[in-house]
Subunit: 209 residues, 2 copies
């Protein structure tokens, strides 16, 4: 059975960077936005729309369908969301069945539970998260600390709600993860090697790989 690492993370905690670096270090596949692209491809829906559903963003526009007609039903919005969740479920399982990999978010920790994945949760204090967000936000998109903090909390609220809705579990409750790492005042690149070693040790993967 393939060895899977799932990374769940608070916004601005550096979780995505950690996942990407772990995949590079371990030379295994990495899936993040790729999942959205695949869902869009298979469902014929626009990527942005799929993203808005799986990230529980506020939907401000109507879905663009490509090459198919939407059947008008009682609640097309609900039906589409259900379709996207089902598609996401299938795609995550399909990707996991191909090879060892790192999977970012999207309830993959729960969806892939039969693989017994190494489930990482990444979190940090607000000042570190603000600092990280500042590093990657273009200057023209200036937000005050209060606005940025409010955006961070909003995104996390969405993630928590999405996770709880699909899995019935509390997002970020340590019991649901193998490892929870606090990245406050830490450079992500520095912790990749020991975390990769911890994963290899627990999963008894030869160091020769």
């Amino acid at each position: 059975m393939n060895k899977i690492i799932t990374v769940s993370r608070e916004f601005g905690s550096g979780g995505r960077e950690l996942g990407k670096r772990l995949a590079e270090h371990l030379r295994i596949a990495y899936y993040d936005e790729e999942i959205i692209t695949e869902i869009a491809k298979k469902s014929g829906l626009a990527e942005e729309y799929v993203k808005s559903i799986v990230e529980r963003k506020t939907i401000t526009y109507y879905p663009i369908t490509i090459g198919r007609t939407l059947t008008t039903t009682f609640n097309p919005q609900l039906e589409l969301s259900a379709k996207i969740y089902a598609e996401q479920n299938n795609i995550i399982k399909e990707l996991a069945s191909k090879s060892d990999c790192v999977m970012i978010g999207r309830c993959s920790d729960y969806i892939l539970r039969e693989y017994n994945p190494f489930k990482i949760f990444v979190y940090a204090d607000m000042s570190s998260r603000l600092w990280r967000c500042r590093q990657r936000t273009p200057e023209k998109e200036y937000l005050s600390d209060t606005e940025m903090e409010s955006r961070i909390r909003g995104i996390d609220k969405g993630r928590a709600r999405y996770h709880e809705f699909l899995t019935g579990q509390t997002w970020g409750a340590k019991e649901n993860y193998s490892l929870c790492i606090n990245t406050s005042n830490i450079a992500i690149k520095d912790i990749v090697l020991p975390i990769a070693e911890l994963f290899k040790t627990i999963y008894m993967i030869s160091n020769d790989k």
Copy 2:
């Protein structure tokens, strides 16, 4: 400033073993029962009594004082507890000031916060904790799984209450730790090296040590 590792743990999660092995691997001091012994020495109280206070056990006997007389006050029990907490605080700080070390429990993560310690929380699912407890319980002290589970939950409840009473923080809330590690179905000896490496990486300790 000395580098400190504090280990907080659910009962039966293997946290004490992890702390001891980390100290051995890193060749630094290890403090656990030693703290109780020191408090007893300095306060003139019996070790078992000190232990019952700092572990919030039910007290079934009256303290034995050695070489000093107890002044009768309004609430001698409360006064003694306060004295023990103060003594514990001093001793933990004194030990931390001596050298790098691993400190098990006793709110050392909070007491030593000015050292910015590497704060580990160790937890595991109930079946792993039952299994670990069985390994170390003498056969004559046989308890059913239900009894054992009830004892485990009782001890953790005491730890949580003690921690919250002294620190105002929620025991086990991941925000208060650097790393939370789930030791379900894991041999503690296997994870010592990568966790020691993580500590050394974060605290920029040379690997030559």
